[in-house]
């Protein structure tokens, strides 16, 4: 069973989410502060983390950054705040998804499932290699090389790159990417795509301000150009 860590200072929310998500098949540990959460994750790494933004002591943004330094565990922000500023800051800090309270358990569960998915691939050939200029992508091995150097991507960044790579130069709209990577079937927050694309560019583009491979197509979406 996937291990889920909840970092939430409101006891009642924490308990109700724990009960509801245990019903959904997760092994849940819950803590009230970011410090405890980090210690817990270091002791026994979780498969998924839910983080509230307003926490006593270390706040949610710092908690996300600290978790990101430890690894690429998928992080979902569950916050009562829906300001653009907070959403973008949390995503920039390294969160994979952002949901606003109150979120239905079914919806949250769908978000978590999507983030647990592995990169899509045919599975026929483990040695498949896709090349885009200096970027070398091995979807089955989960590896990305920029020139000779191995690049470390989070699971979500890697899946985003793979979805674009699979299209070999065709454009994917933000909503299509939200559907394929984050599992939003209807309308999803396009800021998720834009912030992740920015993070991805900083990792695989030589000049992230003037990307040559991860290109924005105005009015349409993104494509991965060879």
């Amino acid at each position: 069973m996937p291990r889920l860590l909840i970092v939430e200072d409101d006891d009642r929310i924490r308990l109700s989410l724990k009960l509801a998500l245990e019903d959904e098949g997760y092994t849940v540990r819950d803590v009230g502060t970011a410090e405890e959460g980090l210690a817990e994750h270091k002791a026994t790494p979780a498969d998924l983390v839910l983080v509230d933004l307003m926490l006593p002591g270390m706040d949610g943004f710092d908690c996300i950054r600290a978790l990101r330094r430890l690894g690429d565990v998928p992080i979902v922000v569950v916050s009562a705040r829906d300001d653009t500023h907070d959403v973008v800051a949390a995503l920039e800090a390294g969160a994979d998804d952002y949901v606003v309270k109150p979120v239905a358990v079914k919806e949250l569960s769908a978000r978590l499932r999507a983030l647990r998915r592995r990169a899509s691939g045919s599975g026929e050939n483990d040695q498949k290699v896709l090349r885009f200029g200096e970027i070398e992508l091995r979807p089955e091995a989960g590896e990305v090389l920029l020139g000779e150097e191995q690049v470390h991507l989070t699971r979500t960044e890697f899946r985003l790159l793979c979805e674009l790579a699979e299209q070999s130069g065709r454009v994917l709209s933000r909503q299509q990417l939200l559907d394929r990577v984050w599992g939003y079937e209807v309308y999803g927050d396009e800021r998720l795509v834009d912030v992740h694309m920015g993070r991805l560019r900083r990792k695989v583009e030589r000049d992230p301000a003037n990307p040559t491979h991860l290109v924005t197509v105005r009015g349409l979406g993104y494509k991965l150009a060879p």
Binding site: L17, L19, V78, A80, D83, P102, E185, Y187, E190
Partner: protein
């Protein structure tokens, strides 16, 4: 006609002031010059006339004198024309040329009565001085006419010179006014600029302090006003955020806890299951009510426009709601438009929910996308909306008459108010019409660019 701007008015006042000053100076100068020149000419004319008159008196001394010869012997220079009148008859050096008629009768009467006289009279195109000297000893009158053509030409030149100077002064006055007004109005321009930035949401805009104490007062009080407004707006924002947090947090607990209950519904007895159902549906309604209220509270936020494939978004919506694909009737030459996709999706969802709740379900979603706007129509086959309710349905907590008669609804009463807000954020329009064939048609027009 539009009223003149402050700057134009200042410039006009400067120009009028300069014009008034220079014109009165010019008129005074002209008048002084003219009268002194005329006086001088008159004195010269009178002196000359008396001298000539004494010669003529001598010439007319004898019996039967030759008046014309006497006149011809006079040395009158180029300009003075001598005339003699004796016994009602005029004598001149040469043909009359209308000179005698230029001498007014009253002057003649005066001179005949023995009084010397001087008068300025019109002569042909110009004017002339007439000097009359009575020659009582010889029973005649002597007249000399001095045309003033030369003098008038001089005065004409003077007048044009003075006029040109007055004109130049006026233009200079207007220029000074324009320049000075720019200097004076600069603080107003910077206040206008700052006010514009603040109106568009930038509360960091301030007016630079001015070295002039009078203008500085404006800058200081404007900046203080902005400080207070932004503090108040920040307090409002924080309050809204706090309220939002305080409402959302317990709802999260309720929502998660009811989902635990719902999952175990099968193992509950009927009474408990019925209570759980009530709880679940009311928590869901409460959730959407709070979400809608918080969304309505954000009425001041602008639409976050971005190029959006509205046709694809609508198609995905139709598929997700499991509506028959044929319900979507998309036409038009474009699919991508600059709109706020989140707001568009909410408009669509609320209209479809409204049709389901009050109109027996949506039967058609018409979408027509052009380069500059989209027209969205959501049709149902319900009873339609009576004419007198068509404005009311967009009010907050307005419910359709039919639904209130049914005694309840799972709607929040905020759906159409939210539609209105999202549409207004796009500067678009929403209206309810009759659907051909019965039912209601909600038509939304969203312009692609801010109008």
């Amino acid at each position: 006609m539009r009223a003149l701007g402050l700057r134009a008015r200042i410039t006009t006042v400067f120009a009028l002031g300069a014009l008034g000053l220079s014109a009165s100076l010019a008129v005074a100068t002209y008048e002084l010059t003219r009268s002194s020149l005329l006086d001088e000419r008159e004195r010269a004319a009178v002196r000359g006339a008396y001298l000539d008159a004494s010669f003529i008196r001598t010439g007319l001394g004898g019996a039967d004198p030759d008046i014309v010869a006497a006149l011809q012997n006079l040395d009158t220079g180029e300009v003075r024309r001598p005339l003699v009148r004796r016994d009602g008859q005029w004598f001149a050096r040469s043909a009359d040329n209308g000179l005698t008629t230029a001498i007014p009768d009253r002057l003649q009467a005066l001179v005949d009565a023995g009084t010397p006289a001087v008068q300025r009279v019109p002569l042909r195109d110009s004017s002339a001085l007439v000097v009359g000297v009575p020659l009582r000893a010889v029973g005649a009158s002597y007249y000399e006419i001095s045309p003033l053509t030369e003098l008038e030409r001089t005065l004409g030149v003077l007048a044009s010179a003075l006029g040109a100077v007055a004109l130049a002064t006026t233009v200079a006055g207007a220029t000074v006014g324009w320049v000075v007004s720019r200097r004076v109005l600069r603080p107003l321009a910077s206040v206008a600029g700052a006010a514009g930035s603040i109106a568009s949401g930038d509360f960091t805009a301030r007016v630079a302090r001015d070295s002039d104490p009078d203008l500085d007062k404006l800058a200081v009080s404007f900046n203080r006003m902005v400080d207070e407004v932004s503090a108040r707006s920040e307090a409002d924002r924080r309050f809204a955020a706090d309220v939002s947090h305080e409402l959302r947090s317990p709802l999260q607990t309720l929502s998660a806890a009811t989902s635990v209950l719902e999952r175990r519904r099968q193992s509950l007895d009927d009474r408990t299951a019925a209570a759980v159902d009530l709880l679940t549906s009311e928590v869901a309604r409460f959730e959407s009510l709070v979400t809608d209220l918080l969304e309505l509270a954000k009425s001041d936020r602008p639409a976050e426009r971005r190029p959006t494939d509205v046709v694809a978004l609508t198609r995905a919506f139709v598929a997700n709601r499991q509506l028959p694909p044929g319900v979507l009737d998309a036409t038009g030459e474009a699919a991508v438009l600059d709109v706020d996709p989140r707001r568009y999706e909410q408009v669509l969802a609320n209209l479809v929910d409204n049709a389901a709740r009050h109109g027996g379900g949506v039967v058609r979603i018409g979408l027509q996308v052009a380069d500059d706007q989209l027209v969205l129509e959501v049709d149902d086959e319900g009873a339609g909306v009576p004419l007198d309710e068509r404005d009311l349905v967009f009010d907050r907590f307005a419910r359709g008459r039919a639904s209130s008669m049914r005694g309840g609804s799972d709607g929040t009463g905020l759906g159409l108010a939210l539609v209105t807000q999202h549409v207004q954020a796009h500067r678009g329009t929403v209206e309810v019409l009759d659907r051909p064939g019965g039912g209601a048609r909600f038509r939304v027009v969203l312009p692609g660019e801010p109008a």
